[in-house]
């Protein structure tokens, strides 16, 4: 009986006009997005290879230590493969990082020059699932119960010897399968495209990440399907249930995720970056005055100066970071109300483009900067004696020993899979809870549903 109802539900959905239209739309969007993002990734990967070589050559050909002091060493950042799925903070994470003795650490320009990329959100896989697929799920669910009631078929069905729970379960499974199966199909196709375009083999952590991403998407879709079913079993008319679920959709997908950071920003205020930099200048002046008494010159003295400034400035930076992480944590907590933001937060973490990855970048930059301004960093790299010893046969030995940086490159390591899962676990659990809650509520409501 259960199978009969499921099958009936699937057939009913599959022959409907909206199924054809929405699936066409969905196929085109997912495949198009996967193809474009993969192409985009490939190009950026190629650019990265060129940039990396260029950055090294630039240091190698420097003639004067001053050039290095001003221009420094730039480290382009490798684009993330899983950014194809969820670009998340990719635009920030893939900015080249420049360390130079005379200046603060600089993040270069984002990998896109066209300002339209800034004006509109990136249409990646997660975007399509988050917005389009969730809307489709609602479209399939809103009249599953109220529609049948309007058509009087529900009454008919319940006159047969079918328990209500079987009916609701069959409807649930059948409806979900009509979305899940095409979704899995198109995702598989998309993965094939991605593999062909990027040439990156799926293995190890990446494979598990992709599997988890797909599973999360299935869960996310199920939540919105559940919301549709919930309103369907609540309202007497299908148009009412549609309007209600659409408002719920707007609220969860468009409002909550964007309002959460606003509220947390109002609750936890951040110190102004401009003031922090002014404090840094203050510290610099203090240290300069103190060190002027020693009357030392040269790279080592400068390195000591920088290290001292850095150490004193660290306090301010840490205070800022603490406040920022409090703000972000609060925003994340508020956003947990919405399945959509749970989905985005979790999927960006799993793709290695999430907030924790950005924190890691910041941490790594600081660690590297400590090394860079220390005695082992730029001081050793610009030590003329050592360079001369190293290149005895060059009429013009380079001003900078580029090998020092090759031996100690700035690489931001991506977190292992289990770390990513651990970070996004609260969001995954919330998503799961939403799923269970909508199902249970629908179940209970349908049990009490007035079919007449």
């Amino acid at each position: 009986m259960f199978f009969a109802i499921t099958l009936k539900e699937i057939r009913l959905n599959a022959i409907s006009f909206r199924f054809q239209v929405s699936m066409t739309l969905f196929f085109v969007l997912i495949l198009g997005s996967m193809y474009m993002m993969s192409q985009n990734y490939t190009r950026r990967q190629q650019d990265f290879d060129v940039d990396r070589l260029r950055a090294r050559e630039h240091v190698e050909q420097m003639m004067h230590p001053f050039e290095f002091m001003g221009f420094g060493r730039t480290w382009p950042q490798r684009p993330k493969v899983l950014g194809v799925f969820s670009s998340g903070l990719e635009q920030e994470l893939s900015r080249p990082v420049t360390f130079s003795p005379w200046k603060e650490v600089e993040l270069g320009s984002a990998p896109y020059s066209n300002p339209l990329f800034l004006l509109f959100q990136t249409p990646d896989f997660v975007y399509v699932v988050n917005i389009v697929l969730s809307l489709l799920a609602i479209l399939f669910a809103f009249d599953a119960i109220s529609g049948e009631k309007e058509n009087q078929t529900l009454k008919l069905m319940l006159t047969n010897a079918v328990p209500r729970d079987v009916v609701i379960l069959g409807k649930w499974v059948g409806g979900l399968l009509t979305i899940w199966v095409p979704f899995l199909l198109v995702t598989g196709l998309g993965l094939v495209i991605m593999r062909a375009v990027t040439g990156v083999p799926f293995q190890g952590d990446m494979l598990s990440s992709i599997a988890l991403l797909v599973a999360l998407s299935l869960g996310y879709v199920a939540v919105f399907f559940g919301i549709g079913m919930l309103f369907s079993s609540m309202a007497a008319k299908s148009s009412t249930s549609l309007i209600l679920s659409l408002f719920a959709w707007v609220f969860f997908v468009l409002v909550v995720p964007n309002v959460a950071p606003i509220i947390s920003r109002k609750v936890v205020s951040l110190p102004s970056p401009g003031n922090i930099l002014l404090q840094r200048r203050q510290i610099e002046m203090e240290v300069r005055d103190e060190m002027r008494r020693d009357d030392r010159e040269g790279a080592e003295a400068f390195s000591d100066f920088q290290t001292e400034v850095n150490n004193r400035f660290r306090l301010h930076l840490d205070a800022y970071d603490r406040q920022l992480s409090r703000q972000v944590k609060l925003a994340k907590r508020i956003a947990m109300v919405s399945p959509s933001s749970n989905f985005i937060l979790a999927s960006s973490e799993i793709s290695g483009t999430g907030i924790s990855e950005f924190d890691r970048l910041k941490r790594d930059i600081r660690t590297y900067k400590d090394w860079f301004i220390g005695p082992e960093g730029f001081v050793r790299a610009t030590d003329e004696k050592k360079i001369r010893d190293k290149y005895p046969d060059r009429a013009f030995p380079p001003a900078v020993d580029a090998a020092v940086f090759e031996d100690h490159p700035f690489v931001v390591r991506t977190s292992p899979f289990n770390r990513m899962v651990a970070t996004s676990l609260p969001n995954i659990i919330m998503l799961f809870l939403c799923l269970v809650a909508t199902f249970l509520l629908t179940y209970v409501l349908f049990m009490r549903y007035d079919v007449r």
Binding site: D47, T74, L116, F251, I276, Q327, I355
Partner: protein
């Protein structure tokens, strides 16, 4: 009659549940966004002031014009009060820029920013209008006609003596009023809020005017979306299918078309990433800088180091000459150093013949003092001969050695020790060495480091008054060269970036045109341009920054050029300047008429959407079959 119909339609909306929910949503979102963004704006203004002050302070710290020239001047990004409503491109917190002669100036960012923002962009008024209001326009219009047909009231209405055109007009106007009333109320509240906080936010005529125009444009956009909704409602038989179709249209128009179009264009017409172009500029300028220093060092060394010994050598050499000379030197050294024997280099540098080189190439044994006289003469014959008062043949020298071995060894010791030292030290840049007469085989001078060379040059410069004058002229020349060099690098980087900007602009224009298939894109462009936070405004800002860079460069050039009427000092004087004289970056936002100019096309497009879909629904309604 029309009035009654409009009133009925409007009231019908007003009492509905969806109207209540949607107006609450609209009002809450608009007020929330204005409240938050006003706070952001105040912070930005504070940042701007703090930055401007800090950057002005920096100017005081430079003792010399050169320091300022190489550090560059920092500028703060000006803030536009309209960001309270439309953040536009200013979403990214790139609030400071460094203007340096060498690179195209740009605004950059540091690590101080909220990482949650790129994930969940802040809601601004534009977001509310483009996404929420368009959604509401569809939700409130999808059953405008087909709903009434389903319930049968349309049939009833038509049975009265009311012309159809009046019915559809009334439906359109009444429904549209229902959509915009919550928006207008929310805007009114927002304006009151801004007026109330006049202490922090000063709106001038420009802002109020652009505010008014953006609201008008938003109304046109809502009308466009509403007309599309009415049209679909007229042509659909059932309201369920009408809303399904409208949802697809909404997803495509609002959420897909504008976002996808830049990627599509990027596929067709790819351009390099900015980091690649920056790398190119850095490389080019790095090469130029390297060449500049090389030339300067060579010129200095040519004057001071070898002027007396090699008068035939040119003092100023062209870059190409330098290159070939260095290459030749490298090749030559490579030939000689087959066995890495410093003795061979010394011999070659001293003008020795090939045979002698071959001889000298044999390793100097540590125990050379105990070697037989035949071997000593065979190996160090030349050196011995150079140190003896008369010319002797090898045979005579061997004889002399046998008689007077200690004397010969004592004579040879300094020479050989020098050779052994050379074996440890790196070789000299041979290209620069003056060939010594072969009759007087002197050991090659130890290779000098850059620093040592400069020291030597300094010593030479102070050796005599004549040298001093030459050195002064030289320094003056070099300072002029440096100024020229700076302008040259500026030109080169400007050229590369201008080329690149042109390509970006072409791509941008194509993407913009493609995205205009969606009225939402038109709305975004029109509103952000009018508010002065859009693409053209950004371009204007960058143009002004470029122009400022020219001013700054001109000023720096003047301040770093040596003055003719120099004082008595050794270093040529440059002009004195006070920090107040440094030109500062001043930016005023464009006037509304200019901004409106950029938005005209999109405003027309929006109006066209309204007209076309209104006409279509009008016609469709006239031909509609009221009876099922």
């Amino acid at each position: 009659m029309l009035g009654t119909l409009i009133k009925k339609e409007f009231l019908n909306h007003l009492y509905s549940f969806r109207f209540m929910v949607s107006s609450a949503l609209c009002v809450v979102l608009i007020l929330l966004s204005v409240w938050v963004l006003k706070g952001d704006y105040e912070r930005k203004v504070q940042e701007y002031r703090a930055n401007t002050q800090a950057f002005r302070q920096e100017l005081e710290e430079y003792d010399q014009a050169f320091e300022l020239q190489f550090a560059g001047i920092n500028v703060a990004r000006p803030v536009n009060p309209m960001e309270i409503f439309y953040t536009g491109l200013k979403k990214s917190p790139e609030d400071r820029g460094n203007v340096l002669a060498f690179f195209k100036p740009n605004f950059s960012r540091d690590l101080f920013f909220d990482p949650i923002q790129p994930l969940f962009p802040v809601i601004d008024l534009l977001f509310v209008v483009a996404i929420v209001m368009s959604f509401l326009a569809f939700v409130l219009s999808y059953d405008a006609v087909c709903g009434e047909r389903e319930t049968g009231t349309l049939k009833l209405l038509m049975s009265y003596s009311i012309p159809r055109d009046m019915v559809i007009l009334a439906k359109w106007v009444g429904g549209f009023l229902g959509v915009i009333v919550p928006y207008l109320i929310a805007m009114l509240l927002a304006v009151l809020y801004i007026l109330a906080s006049y202490r922090a936010v000063r709106f001038t005529g420009t802002e109020w005017l652009s505010m008014l125009i953006t609201v008008a444009v938003s109304l046109v956009f809502i009308a466009a979306m509403y007309s599309i909704g009415v049209f679909v409602s007229v042509i659909s038989r059932r309201s369920n299918s009408s809303i399904a179709v409208l949802l697809f249209v909404w997803v495509l128009m609002v959420l897909v078309a504008p976002n996808v179009s830049p990627y599509v264009v990027d596929q067709i017409n790819p351009i390099d990433s900015p980091s690649k172009v920056q790398g190119e500029i850095r490389m080019t300028i790095g090469e130029m800088t390297a060449q500049f220093f090389r030339d300067m060092e060579d010129a200095a060394w040519a004057i001071a180091g070898v002027q007396d010994a090699a008068p035939q050598q040119q003092q100023q050499m062209t870059a190409a000459d330098q290159r070939t000379r260095i290459e030749q030197a490298e090749v030559g050294r490579h030939d000689t150093r087959r066995s890495d024997d410093p003795a061979a280099i010394a011999a070659r540098d001293a003008g020795a013949t090939q045979a002698e080189i071959d001889q000298a190439m044999q390793m100097i044994p540590d125990n050379w003092e105990s070697m037989s006289c035949d071997n000593i003469v065979a190996q160090f014959g030349n050196e011995v001969r150079g140190r003896l008062p008369m010319e002797l043949s090898d045979q005579d020298m061997i004889a002399l050695c046998r008689d007077n071995r200690d004397m010969i060894i004592a004579q040879l010791r300094p020479v050989i020790e020098e050779m052994q030292q050379q074996a440890a030290a790196p070789s000299a840049p041979t290209g620069r060495q003056a060939p010594a007469p072969s009759a007087q085989p002197a050991p090659a001078p130890a290779p000098l480091t850059r620093e040592e060379k400069w020291q030597e040059t300094g010593k030479w410069a102070f050796a005599s008054d004549e040298n001093r004058e030459i050195a002064k002229d030289f320094l003056k020349d070099q300072m002029t060269r440096l100024a020229d060099f700076t302008s040259e690098t500026s030109d080169v980087s400007r050229r590369i970036s201008r080329d690149y900007d042109r390509r970006v602009k072409r791509q941008l224009d194509t993407a913009r045109n493609l995205s205009r298939i969606s009225p939402v894109a038109s709305l975004v462009y029109a509103v952000t341009e009018i508010a002065g936070t859009g693409i053209e405004a950004d371009r204007h800002l960058h143009e002004r920054l470029d122009a400022y860079q020219m001013d700054f460069n001109a000023f720096m050039r003047e301040m770093t050029l040596p003055e003719d009427a120099g004082g008595g000092g050794f270093f040529p004087k440059t002009k004195e300047y006070s920090p107040d004289e440094v030109p500062l970056f001043k930016y005023s936002h464009q006037q509304v008429d200019r901004r409106l100019n950029y938005a005209m096309l999109d405003v027309f497009l929006l109006a066209a959407w309204v007209i076309v879909f209104f006409m279509l629904s009008f016609l469709a309604f006239l031909r509609m079959d009221v009876i099922d």
